[in-house]
């Protein structure tokens, strides 16, 4: 993880703050920081999104390619996650510095999406056993301000929402299967991604737990629980990280909080995405200049 150094007194200050349910910026333990999304930010992708959660800045692009399905799931497509940590975010990422974090994040995303009733992979199937869409989800970390997992999953979900795949017509002619991919940019299909999970990270600070920990708070946590939650509150993946240990009862508490927060996170994200879509072409693209 990207670490900042803190003095003991600062840590004590943060610890007591969490106990009092008044964090550094006045948030409660279950509040997220200010979050901004923007979709279709890159024209050369099938779908893209950018999420800015306070200082955490994440850009996601989705590319769809036709390929052969994997042998164990013949009637399903695939999603591949690739995370790239830009050295712009922090000099630590230079060279291979960000690789561990990148694998952590992509593994967590694989696990969160690897659940039969979250993201339906059958919709990516073109010809069973032969052809399917493979979605390459490329994630770029532009700035680190804590809570990378949650922000990444939100950006991925937003990008999937934005993704449109060209319509494919399959014609069978004397046993020869012919695929025709539509060139028309409006002849496309959207994905059904309503039930894809968001990741919620719960960090244990002192005796309480918080969601959306800032970098400073991440510095004070010894253990955290990362979970994938769908809009219905299904927990699709669970992972414990950090050197500290967690009490079974506190894990239950944290899961309950995570489920609750995850539900409202999913709902708010979908609301915002729907709102953005309603604005259509009228919306002003913001780009990367601040």
């Amino acid at each position: 993880m990207v670490d900042v150094q803190l003095s003991d007194a600062e840590k004590v200050f943060i610890l007591h703050g969490v106990q009092d349910n008044c964090r550094e910026d006045g948030r409660g333990c279950e509040d997220y920081r200010h979050l901004e999304i923007e979709t279709s930010v890159m024209s050369n992708t099938n779908g893209s999104a950018r999420v800015r959660l306070a200082n955490t800045d994440i850009l996601v692009g989705v590319k769809a390619e036709l390929g052969t399905p994997s042998p164990e799931k013949l009637n399903k497509g695939r999603i591949e996650f690739f995370v790239d940590c830009s050295a712009n975010a922090t000099p630590e990422f230079e060279g291979r510095g960000g690789e561990d974090l990148a694998t952590d994040i992509s593994n967590m995303l694989y696990r969160a999406y690897d659940c039969p009733n979250c993201f339906d992979l059958q919709q990516l199937c073109v010809i069973p056993d032969q052809q399917c869409w493979i979605l390459y989800v490329d994630i770029l970390l532009l700035e680190c301000g804590g809570n990378l997992f949650d922000a990444t999953s939100l950006a991925v979900k937003a990008a999937l929402f934005n993704t449109s795949i060209p319509t494919v017509t399959v014609t069978k002619d004397e046993g020869v299967v012919d695929l025709e991919i539509s060139d028309d940019p409006y002849d496309v299909q959207r994905l059904d991604m309503k039930s894809s999970p968001c990741i919620v990270t719960l960090s244990k600070v002192g005796h309480s737990h918080v969601v959306d920990a800032s970098q400073k708070e991440e510095c004070c946590t010894l253990a955290r629980l990362i979970m994938g939650v769908t809009e219905k509150g299904t927990i699709t993946a669970l992972k414990k990280e950090g050197s500290g240990s967690l009490d079974p009862t506190s894990i239950e508490d944290m899961m309950e909080t995570g489920r609750r927060v995850g539900e409202s996170l999913n709902k708010c994200l979908m609301d915002a995405l729907a709102e953005e879509e309603r604005q259509g072409t009228k919306k002003k693209s913001l780009g990367f200049l601040r």
């Binding site: 007194a9 910026d25 999304i37 923007e38 950018r50």
Partner: protein, 309 residues
Amino acid sequence: MIITHLNLGILLTRIWRSMVDVRIAGARSSTKPNVSAEISNLVTPGDVITADTGFMRGHGTYMEDEKLYASVAGVVERVNKLICVKPLKTRYNGEIGDVVIGRILEVGTRRWKVDTHAKLDSVLMLSSVNLPGGELRRRSEEDEKMMRHYLKEGDLISAEVQSLFSDGALSLHTRSLKYGKLSQGQLVSISPSLIKRRKTHFHNLPCGASIILGNNGYVWICPTINEEVEQTGGYEQNLEPIQKSDREVIARLRNCVLALAEHKMMLYDTSVLYTFEASLRYSVKETVKPEVMADIIEVAQQRLEREGT
């Protein structure tokens, strides 16, 4: 006006319940006032400042084909024949006598390496700190062994710039009881060019918190320390829990400082205080939202123009 506030109220209650606030980026800052028209001396890198050869080249500028160009984005400042560009976003360029906040990075032989948001790490010599107890004597080998006991990696200090090395690195000192190790509180980092130079950078605000506006863009906000307690240069730290009311004041101040920085306003005691007072109409949580921030800043700005000094 009333209608917009009502709308805002409805919006905010909705957010409060849902705990999560997802916004569309395009909706942001659509009504930002166009101030760039007012600032005529704002330049970007590569802009010609003057073609007149009678001027001297200062910081942030370069000469080419007998024309003076800006090398950074910022505001042009002229002192007689010297032209400089003061960058909007910059690392800290130290000057002797500045009050800075720094974080200890490394404990070395007879010196500490300190991060002050300057281009190079600053140096705090063992001989330029007050020893605990305030003894004045030559630093012995014993003191050298105790260095990590005094200040260790990650500790925050307030200090003054004592001198500049030839490479531009700063040498700090804490030889006054007002400087030294910082205890409980919050550090906020903003652009150094937004800190207004004042006689004093230590302020006990009437709202119940103290603020140190470091010239290097680091702002320290902490609960007001009782003056009667003997100042020890921060070696004795009070790690007792802080009252929730104080904590809220600190959080609010932090949000105000960030709001000022976000809107590129100069920071000094009055501007911080006015912003704080303008923010009291909202709850602490709400003050991080961009539209609330803009509203607070506007109110504070108007008040500054009216009665500010």
